[in-house]
Symmetry: C2
DNA sequence: CCTCCCTATAAGCATCTGCTTATATAATAA
DNA sequence: TTATTATATAAGCAGATGCTTATAGGGAGG
């Protein structure tokens, strides 16, 4: 889940989306991105770092230049994984261990209509 | 592009991802989410609003309760659209009109190795 | 009516984020 | 060496974000 958050956070910024879209055309040097985007070099470097730390990009050093490219089929893969994450049984997700139990308890008590009551019966098990 | 940013920004937050994952099991009332997640009601309401404004969720009012659910197949659709957005020709994206031109110019001048020079020839057209 | 229940919203606060300017680092060229 | 090119990083600041506490408002039931 943490990786999904990191990836989505990286994608949820207009400048970074633009960089990603340009690198989808072809890998580029930082200075090329600077020319094409028309924004400052530090600004680009900072966004590239975020995208790289989210495993979306990877880099290759060439002399003084740095060549940035999309990390393989990361987008297809990770977005596919995310849809799968939404589909699988909640009990199979370690991050949702407690939530899974509370939800089953809640479904058992489905005869109880009030939320307040449901919460009460839940607290008995907390 | 703005919608993509909005969607990814909404997804790039752990609490919201958890809410989304729970609603992938079944639609729920706010008070149910409160019980299952074990976090405060205002906190949930605020996150629900963000997800709703990103078109990820929709709501149905039932008396005092509000029923939240995932907005159809929004995730499959929008993530598919995003992959398509990364694939299409840059010139077909209105948001990349200027970038598209600058990039073509940059590719024309590919004989010029230096970024500095490339930037110079680009500025001639600015 | 009055009182809960459910939800939304507002205010205040601490943290995070993205930008600019300035500087550091490293490789290349003169 | 000194200067230049390419990139990364740091500092500082304004605005955004997420949380808590408090409150508002609408419906249900006594």
């Amino acid at each position: 889940m943490d990786l999904f958050v990191k990836i989505f956070k990286a994608l949820g910024e207009p400048t970074r989306l633009k960089i990603l879209r340009l690198l989808a055309v072809r890998p580029m040097y930082v200075c090329e991105l600077e020319s094409v985007l028309g924004i400052s070099q530090p600004r680009i470097s900072q966004h590239l770092r975020v995208l790289k730390e989210a495993t979306i990009l990877r880099e290759t050093k060439e002399a003084q230049k740095t060549f940035y490219m999309i990390n393989g089929d990361i987008m297809e893969t990770s977005l596919g994984d995310f849809l799968e994450f939404l589909r699988v049984d909640l009990r199979d997700l370690p991050d949702f261990k407690e939530e899974s139990l509370r939800m089953e308890k809640l479904d058992q008590d489905s005869c109880v209509i009030s939320c307040k009551t449901g919460q009460g019966s839940d607290l008995q098990n907390a």
